[in-house]
Every structure is written in structure tokens, then in C-alpha cells.
Subunit: 360 residues, 2 copies
Amino acid sequence: MDLSERKLKILQAIVSDFITTSEPVGSRTLSKRPDIDLSPATIRNEMSDLEEMGYLTHPHTSAGRVPSDKAYRLYVDQLMKGSDLPAENKQEISQRLHKDADELDQTVEHAAQLLSEMTNLVSFAITPNRSESKINYINFLPVDEGTVVLMIVCEDGKVTNSAIRMNSPYTEENLTLMSKVMTHNFKGRAVSSVLTDNITSMFESDMQALSSLAGSVVPSFMKTLEKMLNVDLYMDGYSNIFRLPEYSDIAKAQNFLETVTNKEQFTNVLVNRENGLAITIGDENSEDLKDFALITADYKVNGKLVGRLGVIGPKRMKYGEVTSVIKYITDNLSQTFEMEAPAEAGEAKALPEEASDNDK
Amino acid sequence: MDLSERKLKILQAIVSDFITTSEPVGSRTLSKRPDIDLSPATIRNEMSDLEEMGYLTHPHTSAGRVPSDKAYRLYVDQLMKGSDLPAENKQEISQRLHKDADELDQTVEHAAQLLSEMTNLVSFAITPNRSESKINYINFLPVDEGTVVLMIVCEDGKVTNSAIRMNSPYTEENLTLMSKVMTHNFKGRAVSSVLTDNITSMFESDMQALSSLAGSVVPSFMKTLEKMLNVDLYMDGYSNIFRLPEYSDIAKAQNFLETVTNKEQFTNVLVNRENGLAITIGDENSEDLKDFALITADYKVNGKLVGRLGVIGPKRMKYGEVTSVIKYITDNLSQTFEMEAPAEAGEAKALPEEASDNDK
DNA sequence: TGTTAGCACTCCAAGTGTTCGAGTGCTAAC
DNA sequence: GTTAGCACTCGAACACTTGGAGTGCTAACA
């Protein structure tokens, strides 16, 4: 049996009704809708069919129907009408994203904030992954007798640095030499590819003079490269969940919050999602997210690097509206980051002694 | 009327009972305690006095007594017995804090995590404020035709950088010169003091050759200095609040979460607390925190810079235990950061063209 | 043959009444 | 000053009732 026009219409009505009210919808309620001109009895028959086909479920005998994951999927794929954002929202988005747009991190954080405000859901955003970014140069800066700062700069402009505790004494000449040799060796190579190299052998062949330093430097270098791969995760709107009736049950709210505040695990989920606009509902997610729906979309930095932004909430979600907001924000972000090369700035700790020497 | 030995004992019993059970305590319950050898009636009389003196309240006629803020304060100041941490906890703390201790940020984050695990409360930690740190050197790195990276390094080792969009073209010589002049001008001065300077005038007098660049550089320089003053806030254990009976009321949980996830406001509260170990209870806090108790303590980096760490929870809190954990962790942190100069690393974005030139 | 009215049945939510226990305050006796 | 006793209060828990919203089924209708 496949879905007749009428069944689709009924299903559509049930899903959208349930999305707004979060109450199981009954045949009488439906028959009152102006767009549905059928008696409750007829609707009951259709609903019964739809239930058999797996689109609806039944909390208990005398309750209305509730959409299944399968129904949400159908709804999102076929039935949902995409809504266009009101002009004022569009304007607010552009305004707030362009203000202070010279710091990528901050702008992305603002975007997440904005998203949670506009959707009343929990939002998140991750910064782009740099594994395929190419190294531009490597620099060692003197700090104190025992410490230097290692600084790696990518072609796309990311600067990452770490302090290194040196096991053996160094001279500034050593550092300059090391900077040059390492830059020469790695310039133009992708971070991920360098990470799989056998760096120590390079030290043996090229840098005999420096081999005593290699022991301190190589592990830090690898660690710094790994650090470059980290993406930052911003989340916002945690307390929004309390507005949703599905989380008036404390245990559910707790479960949600626990899932969502496990940053490491959550980042992992986000990083591994499909590119572009991705909507996953219920059991399409991993086990721990099976009660939720996620919508994500990508933004681009300089037309290349890809970050991601989205929301998580109950399966009963205003897919149309939320999707529009997310798309509008990601498009806006991409546009913002395309025009200029925005700054993504951070900090590093070290104790330079006479660092301006480095300029001579 | 002042507090007799016996009243104190009763009050102590009430507070500690209420802290563990969160139920109003009645006279019968108290009289059953082995350390209190009085009949319920006597206890009732004493409780009645204590209520009159403002130490106890009464949810309704036939309920037990509940401690007031004043009672908690007395309890913390005089009655509470500080508990010593079990050796295994101490060991766990040292172990987990010393692992990966070369990154300050990360270690501080771990400390917050640890703290929330051990106390089952919401924990937080802020990194040290650098307003009195001295500038060590300032460096401009070439990126592309329109962009350079500004990098400011403090004596205490903090490195902060931003990308600057240049309004007019620059040469590498310009950058080197600018690095030198600015380093010369600001080396050894505290960040906060430089922030109050009139920098533009310096450009006019010292750097005529560079004045065309000043328009782009000065605002960014100030912004970067301000960025150095930002402290990072880490929080952990949000979902712990659901274990507490006081937050089984959804509205209260929501209120708590909203208060606590307002990072900006919360950071502000933390930064302005008293130094050392600080416990504030109920109405000793600002209006929005009046239903909570906060405990914070400081840790030191290199014996000087001061960061802060603590918990927030209901006024009914195991003050003794929690204080011990916090103190042990902050002591441990201070110790960790004293031995070595730990790395606090971050990142910056820029698009260097031929940056190794900077080394020659 | 598809649609609808009618009816018996189910189940939850909300309201009501009752009971029970833990608590208080007060008074009088020790 | 302390305690026992007693009347009283209040909320939590439980059972019970009721009403409404819903279903499924059957039979009648177009």
C-alpha cells in the first residue's frame, strides 16, 4: 500500500499539529481543520492505515496519534513547506554577524548565540578543521633559559603556538637555524600529512648540530600540530530546553543536558556529519541522540575551510523555520568570511627574554 | 539574648541535618540524635527562640525548621567542622592535575572538571587576569598584501595576536621598524597602563614614516591589548543540579541554569570576589544569586598571577567537604604552576606570505 | 465501494475525600 | 528549667470518582 494524496495530507496535518502542540492529535481535532474535509471516522480509518505502515504510533488506546521517526523523515523530505525568514530577522542576522566580524572565533560564537535565540533551541557551532591546511612557516622564539615558544603558521593564516621546556641549553642561533630548517622541510605540506611523518629521522640527517634539542622539540612539534586540528565548539541556549514540554520531566531534561554537555563526544558527532544541510531525526542518530533531532549546515571560510553550525532539540521541531534560519546564518557567515581574511586570534604562554632579537 | 552553648549545638544539628537531607528538621528528629540529650519539647522551646533570633524559619505551621542565611553564615564561621580529604581523593587530584600540565588553559579546565566530579556541584574556573603583566615585545608579521598579524608577548609569557587589515600598502621594512619602535616604547610597561595611553601621538612623533599605517594599526593594537585582559571561564557539571532535590522544580532549575550560563555576567561576579577563600551565602550575593551559595579560592601562577576556582550550588551545601576539595585543588594548581612555566597556547589567524623572512 | 454515524469501550487527567504522620504550641506537672 | 501530654495543623499519599477525548467496530448510507 502506498500513500494516497489523502493520506499524505492527513499525515502532514498530524505532524505539523503535533509539532506545534506536542499533544497527540485525534481524529476529531483533524476533522475540524479547514483544509481537511472528512469525518472523524474516515480519518480514523486512514490513521489506522498510517499506523500499520509505520508512520504513526499510539501512546495508549484512547490517545491521539503521534508521528514516528519515519513520519518526520517523510515530512521533512516531502511535506514540509520551507518558510522564508521575515525581513527583520534577516536584517538582525546580518547586522549582528557583521559587527566585530574580524575575529572568526568570536563571530562563530555570536552566530551560535543568535541561532539559539532565534530558534529557542540549543545551538552549537564548530570552527573549521585544518587538517588539510598547508604549513607556511615554523618559528622558534626564545623565552628563558629553559623555555622557547614554538609557533606554526598555516597558509590559511592560522597561527598555533606552544611553549616547550628544553631539556638541554640552546642558543638563539640554534633556534633560528631550527626555524629555517623546519620551515624548509615542511612549508607547503598539509598538517595531516606531516603528522604521519617520521620527524626524528629528519633531525638526524639534517640537523646534527641540533640533535641535542630534538628530544625536546619533536614531541612538542607533534603535539602542536595535533592542536592545530582541534576545532572549537560553542554552544548556547541550554536553558531553552526548559520551555519545551517534553523536558518538563526532570529525568529527560537531565539526560538531554548530559548528552549535550559532553563536549568531546558531541564535537565528534558534529565533525562526522554529512556535508551541507543535514537533518537527522531520532534513530537516524547514534544511540545516545536517538530521542533528538539535529539540523546542521556548513559555512565556508575563504571559500574553502568548512565549519559547521546547527541546533539540537526534540524530534518535534519546526523543521522549516529552523532550517531557514540556519541556512541564512551559514550563508551569511560564508559571505562574511569570504570578503576579508578574518582574524582568528588566540594566545600562547612563554617567557621571552629578548624577543625583539628575533627581528634582526 | 545571645546564643547559649545548647542553642549552638541545636542549631548546628539542624543545619547539618538539613544540609544532608534537605528536609525541614523537627524536634523529635533532633531529640533522637545521640549527641542531643533533650526532650522534643525542650528542643521546641529552643527552636522557637532561635526562630525569633532569625536563625530559623518555618515553611508552615506543622513543618520542621529550616536554617536561614544567617544560620548558614554562623555555621560556616563557627560550627562547621572542616573535613580532611581521604587520601585517595588527594591522590586522584594530584594525578589528574599533573597529567598534561604543560598547558595552563587545559589544566585549569581539568581542575574545574575534577572539582565538579568531586563535589557533585556546578564548578567553574577562571584563568589569571593579565592587566598588570608587563609587555615584553611586540611583533608584526607579514601575511598578505592587505593583512599582517600583530603579536604581543608578555613577560609572564602570554602571547596574544590578532590579524590586522591594512588600509594602505606596507613593506616588510615598515613592519620591522614598527615592531622595533613599538617594542621600544612599551617594553616593561603593564598592559593596563598602556591601555590608558594616547598611542596615536606616539605615532605622530616617532614614526612619521609609518603614519600612513597608524590608522590601521592603532585600533587593532588597543583591541589586542584588551583581548589580553580577557579571562577564560570554564564551567563543568551543569547536569549535577538535577540530582539536588531543590531543583526538582523545573522553574528553579531553569532559573539556576540561566543564571549560571550567562558567562559574561558570571565572570564578572567571579572576578570581583574577595581574594583567598571566599564563601558567600544567599543574600550575601548579588540579587540574581541570592538563592545560591558560592565558594571560591585562588590559585597562583608563578607565585604571582592569580586565577580563581570554585563551585556554585544551593545554600544547603556541604561547606566543609567542598571547601577542603577546593583548597586542595587550588593549592595543587599553584604548586603545579610554580615549578615549571606552563604553556598557555592558542592560535591566531593570518596569511603570511614569506614569514621566515622575519628571522633574518 | 468508499464514507459516515453511532455506540461501546478505554484511558488519562483532574478533582475530591480520607487518612496518616510529623510537626507545632501551649499548659501543667515534675 | 525541663518534660509529658494534648489539641491542633498541615501536607503527602492514596483511593475513588468523573468527564472528556480518543479509539475501533459495525451498520447504514450515497
